[in-house]
Amino acid sequence: MHKLKKYKTAVIFLLPNLLGITVFLLLPFLEVIRRSFCNTMGNRFTGLYNYYQVINNEAFRLAAWNTVKFTGIALPLLLVVSLLLALAVRVISTGKEVLQTTYMLPMALPISSIVLLWKVLFYDQGLINGMLLKLGLQQVSFLSTDLAFYILLFTYIWKNAGYDMILWLAGLDSISKDIYESAEADGADAWQRFWYITIPELKTVMGMTAILSFMNLFKIYREAYLVSGKYPHESVYLLQHLFNNWFLALDLGRITAAAVMMTVVVTAGIMWLKKYWQLEE
């Protein structure tokens, strides 16, 4: 009897949120899946035609490759940079709070406010080019060359390093001092302690940090869009740009197929990563 009552409570607590998610995401997603196997109007079954179209689409291939490339470079880089920040902030004695607040600020600044600054810095007529000219150096076109990729990379790290730093700090704080002390007593030096204790202990936090950083990775589209518009330089043409443009064209067949594929990839990724990150009690 008691158990049944508990389930009833759980249901009541969960229901509003689950209802919303079902109405706005899960149910329509079934329609998305259905549409991915139909033509644009949605009335004729076309099998895997849309999927075939998407995979063979030049723009899709470019966008997918760019997104994978960006993820492969940006994620590890962010993790390393934020870890270094966390380690350094931990060691110093004065100014900890000020620095922590500083590093966390970018995540609060709305990107629309920052975009003007980015334009001022990186446009062909921007500050950096002006300075390069004054120094007698070659001018650089940041946004219409492959350098755009690195601008985006920098933006991603700038925005998220502080957030990840907090995650690392939590992980570092949770390692018990005893392990370090006994290692030191055994004669391990600082580098050995770091390599053989800190790094392994951080594995769980690393999994979580990676997942949350991955979540923030897709948001970088905002910056890219606000600075470079719908069709940026090809080095930063991401899946999001593609989706957005297909969306504007209301190409439902292709966009639903692509959406289904992306969901499958992300879900598979999570299930694989679960090995490294425990959700269990």
């Binding site: 509003p16 995401l25 939590a170």
Partner: protein, 279 residues
């Protein structure tokens, strides 16, 4: 120790990379529109270069005044942002908080699977969820209204995730004790859950609000009529039309976000940490 002092070099360099944009933004209300046009016009004219000075040559609040008194559009978009974001955050609390409590402290079959679903949902980029959302909103006739932003937004998975992790940290003994006292689950949540899970709840609210405040994609895709636009769609427009007040607008738009961040920072840090590490 010399070694420790040397750390300040990279740390402060990184900090400058943040302080300078903040100063740039603040200049938005100190530069007069004329000076802004003088310095940054190169962006539009494609001639010459942008110039920048550390301090305004003619400090003036004129841009701010022009923005607040002469630009009714700004009020409209600012109000839209406030409305949409506040309601999203409120909705996230209203529906998300109980759900998070259930997943953290109530036992029921499929709990882990359900939580896993939230994790997948929070990771899906908007570009994937925009398609189903569009279909539903279109069917319900809600496109081009503020509800198109508020409704999908208030069921965001990430705040629920953060609150769940926060609630998981509460010692089960305390929760059990409250239950044994005969309190209904709502009372347990109110007297034990929320006070002890404060960090998670506040972080979820702050992060949820910040996410909504800076949102660009959903408004861009679902709102056609500028009358419902949040400021995030308006700002890029204003940079084109009226460079002079664009910086002041950027500054004013950032203020609520930064203030909220400052207010919640302590809890935010704790809440984020709880998301990472299990006690």
């Amino acid at each position: 120790m010399v070694k420790k002092a040397a750390l300040y070099i990279p740390l402060l360099s990184a900090a400058v990379l943040i302080w300078w944009p903040v100063w740039f933004l603040t200049m938005g209300i100190l530069l007069s529109p004329d000076e802004v046009n003088l310095l940054y016009a190169a962006i539009h004219t494609k001639e010459g270069f942008v110039r920048w000075c550390l301090l305004p040559s003619w400090p003036s609040l004129r841009a701010l005044i022009q923005l607040l008194f002469d630009t009714p559009e700004f009020f409209v978009v600012f109000w839209n942002s406030c409305l949409q974001c506040f309601l999203q955050a409120a909705g996230q609390l209203l529906t998300g908080l109980p759900a998070a409590w259930a997943m953290a402290q109530l036992k029921f079959p499929g709990r882990r699977l359900l939580f896993g679903m939230y994790v997948v949902l929070m990771l899906l980029p908007f570009q994937v969820t925009m398609v189903p959302e569009y279909l539903v909103l279109s069917k319900l006739g809600l496109l081009d209204t503020s509800l198109a932003i508020i409704l999908p937004g208030m069921f965001a998975a990430f705040p629920v995730f953060i609150m769940t992790r926060g609630f998981e940290q509460i010692p089960k003994s305390m929760v059990e004790a409250a239950r044994l006292d005969g309190a209904g689950e709502w009372a347990v949540l109110r007297h034990v859950g929320i006070p002890m899970g404060r960090a998670g709840v506040i972080s979820a609210v702050v992060l949820g609000f910040l996410e909504a405040w800076g949102a660009v994609e959903r408004p861009m895709s679902f709102l056609e009529n500028p009358i419902h636009w949040p400021f995030t769609l308006y700002l890029p427009q204003v940079v084109m039309d009226n460079l002079g007040i664009s910086m002041a607008a950027g500054f004013v738009a950032a203020v609520p976000a930064v203030l909220l961040f400052m207010w919640g920072q302590k809890y935010l840090q704790e809440g984020i940490m709880q998301g990472a590490v299990k006690e």
